[in-house]
């Protein structure tokens, strides 16, 4: 009974929502007789004669018939209700998102150490469950939030000082039932900002945003990106993935070129998103040129410069025992510079994209280096870099894109990680627009063993993923 009341209320609310969304405009006050196109156009050439059209009513009826005859949208419900333009009349919350489900196997011998160190081997895993909340607030204001729901921190492991891998267990007893054990997960804020558009050249975002660099980091969602795993140079965050602060961006179209920019001012990389320990703001930017003259070609360059400070704190008593203060000890402090270049070319059914990224850090306070195998020294200054290239072709007779990716990465900041090159081949099958099925084989080659010896063992991964937008 209670359930049916709730269901009825929900149905009524949804109907009310639909009615509001479809709120008809008042009837026109001027008579609407059909006219010849171009009649009101003050052009030197006389308007050409077109066979007199029907009255508006007839035209409407004609059109309604045509609209009614149109088949139901098979997969466009995700997109067709959006009101991105007339924000003043459609201030509604738009909820959407994406998720993915992955299975991967290692194609290596049983003795291979990757079997025990590679994450989520031979397992089914729901990796991303991201929910977007978007709203046009009116008068050129727009808000967007994206959160990711995670099983983490349950199951995450971290080595302790004596070499034990300590796994986090979030099991608790559920008081809402019979105290059966359940595990809680986490929520990660991917981005949240409000944006105001002053004009096409000047839009301001404040909040947390994805760092505007390259292609992959902005493509972001598993249904949108072609491969299953991010290239290492992207997942290793040579640029910070997100930043908290301000972003100015805009573009200008000089036919056939679109020139655009992004400028960021943020707390920069740090151990806490909402605190800038060293009050040393990071700045960055991206400049790109895009043209649709030869397919769709975008070339861009990005920069990021900022400081990092991690510190410990303890309470101390000062002023002859009258005041409690905090004393800070820096644990790690460095200045970093990241540079990136990217190109993306979509021509007919072809997709070619690539990124090259460099990141260097100069330490003022060196932390202990994170190595698994002793001796453990202090972190040296480093320059890490990497690149990837992707070529794909969407078949004309199937919504399927075979692709190849070649990537290379050097990460001297992490002595455990040897210089690596990977060759990937895969297929990206999109049976309907919101659903993507991927199959990918990756063959990693290491040019050194690395401090933990991982590079002595081959790593071959076969992975499959279903990703969907909802």
């Amino acid at each position: 009974m209670r359930f049916s009341s709730v269901a009825l209320s929900a149905w009524l609310l949804s109907r009310a929502g639909l009615a509001l969304a479809a709120d008809p405009l008042p009837a026109p006050t001027t008579p609407t007789t059909a006219v010849e196109p171009g009649m009101d156009m003050p052009t030197p050439a006389p308007a050409p004669a077109i066979a007199p059209g029907p009255t508006a009513t007839t035209a409407d009826a004609d059109a309604e018939g045509k609209f009614a005859a149109a088949p139901e949208p098979a997969s466009d419900s995700f997109t067709s209700e959006e009101s991105g333009s007339d924000s003043d009349t459609q201030r509604k919350l738009d909820l959407y998102g994406f998720a993915d489900f992955t299975y991967q196997r290692l194609l290596v011998d049983k003795e291979n150490i990757w079997n025990r160190t590679y994450p989520s081997v031979n397992s089914f895993a729901v990796g991303n469950f991201n929910l977007y909340l978007s709203s046009n607030l009116g008068d050129s204001w727009r808000a967007l939030a994206e959160v990711r729901f995670m099983y983490l921190p349950n199951g995450a492991s971290k080595p302790d000082a004596s070499g034990n891998a300590i796994r986090t267990d979030t099991t608790v007893l559920d008081y809402a039932g019979f105290e059966e054990p359940i595990r809680w997960g986490g929520i990660r804020i991917e981005r949240i900002y409000i944006e105001h558009e002053f004009n096409g050249l000047l839009k301001l975002q404040v909040g947390q945003f994805l760092t505007p660099y390259g292609i992959w980091n902005v493509d972001h969602g598993s249904p949108t990106i072609i491969g299953i795993k991010k290239p290492f140079v992207v997942s290793n965050q040579l640029f910070p993935e997100q930043q908290v602060g301000l972003q100015l961006y805009g573009s200008y179209f000089l036919d056939p070129l679109e020139v655009g920019y992004h400028l960021t001012l943020s707390n920069g990389r740090g151990p806490v998103e909402y605190q800038d320990f060293d009050d040393d703001k990071a700045f960055g930017g991206r400049l790109y040129v895009k043209t649709d003259a030869v397919g769709s070609l975008t070339v861009g360059a990005s920069i990021y410069r900022g400081g990092y400070l991690d510190r410990s704190a303890k309470y101390v008593v000062t002023n002859n025992g009258t005041t409690v203060d905090q004393e800070y000890t820096p644990l790690s402090k460095y200045q970093e510079l990241s540079l990136g270049a990217d190109v993306k070319w979509e021509y007919k059914s072809w997709l070619v994209q690539g990124e090259a990224i460099m990141n260097e850090a100069n330490f003022e306070v060196r932390p202990r280096s994170t190595v698994i195998r002793p001796p453990q020294g202090f972190q040296a200054d480093y320059r890490r870099w990497g690149a990837y290239g992707l070529i794909g072709y969407r078949l004309p007779f199937l919504p399927l894109m075979p692709y190849v990716i070649v990537q290379h990465a050097i990460s001297p900041d992490s002595p455990n990680t040897p210089p690596a090159t990977a060759y990937e081949v895969g297929i990206n099958y999109r049976p309907i627009a919101p659903v993507v099925v991927k199959l990918e084989y990756t063959d990693w080659h290491f040019s050194a063993p690395g401090s933990a010896g991982f590079g002595n063992y081959p790593l071959r991964i076969l992975a499959t993923q279903v990703a969907w937008a909802f």
Binding site: G38, F67, A70, G200, F253
Partner: protein, 171 residues
């Protein structure tokens, strides 16, 4: 295991050869039968100063690209519902995308955090009314469906009745 590695490398090479060959195959779309020729007129509000749009500009308007520049006066596109015949023809002629490609385009764009597609209306009278009352509003319809609420503009310098008018497709 070495064999698997060799197989993987060979697959990469094979794809590099096979993909260009596949791309040379004739497209299914090219074999479409000759059919009725449909013309779409693009219209704006009567008091709009817009007289002419290039096809590239029209494409950018209907992909929500912001070309307002310093003025901030943005064009506001209004679309027909997905999969209606005029929408499909418009998307193929102007955006050069099939319905599936259009769906993919907007899904990908929204996941990137960008604004979604233009508002789609299932009533032509509403479409005409909205365009006529929206500053910067742009819509399209068959010429005989256009009323005097709005004004038809040129595309690439041509009106719908002129030879070489680009916004035409086979239904």
């Amino acid at each position: 295991m070495q064999r698997i590695a060799k197989l993987g490398r060979r697959s990469v090479l094979t794809l590099g050869v096979v993909l260009p060959v596949i791309s040379a195959l004739p497209s299914v779309e090219r074999s479409a039968r000759a059919a009725e020729r449909v013309t779409l007129a693009v219209f704006v509000a009567k008091d709009s100063s817009l007289q002419n749009l290039k096809m590239t500009e029209l494409r950018r308007i209907f992909t929500n690209a912001d070309d307002s520049g310093f003025s901030g006066q943005r064009s506001v596109p209004f679309n027909h519902t997905a999969r209606s015949s005029d929408r499909v023809g418009f998307d193929q002629t102007v955006l050069r995308m099939s319905p599936e490609e259009v769906s993919r385009f907007w899904i990908d764009r929204k996941i990137r955090g960008l604004p979604g597609p233009p508002r789609a209306l299932d009533s032509l009278s509403q479409l005409l009314r909205l365009v006529s009352r929206t500053s910067g509003g742009v819509g399209y319809a068959r010429p005989h469906q256009v009323t005097n609420e709005v004004r038809v503009i040129r595309i690439d310098g041509k009106l719908p009745t002129e030879a070489g008018y680009p916004l035409q497709f086979n239904e």
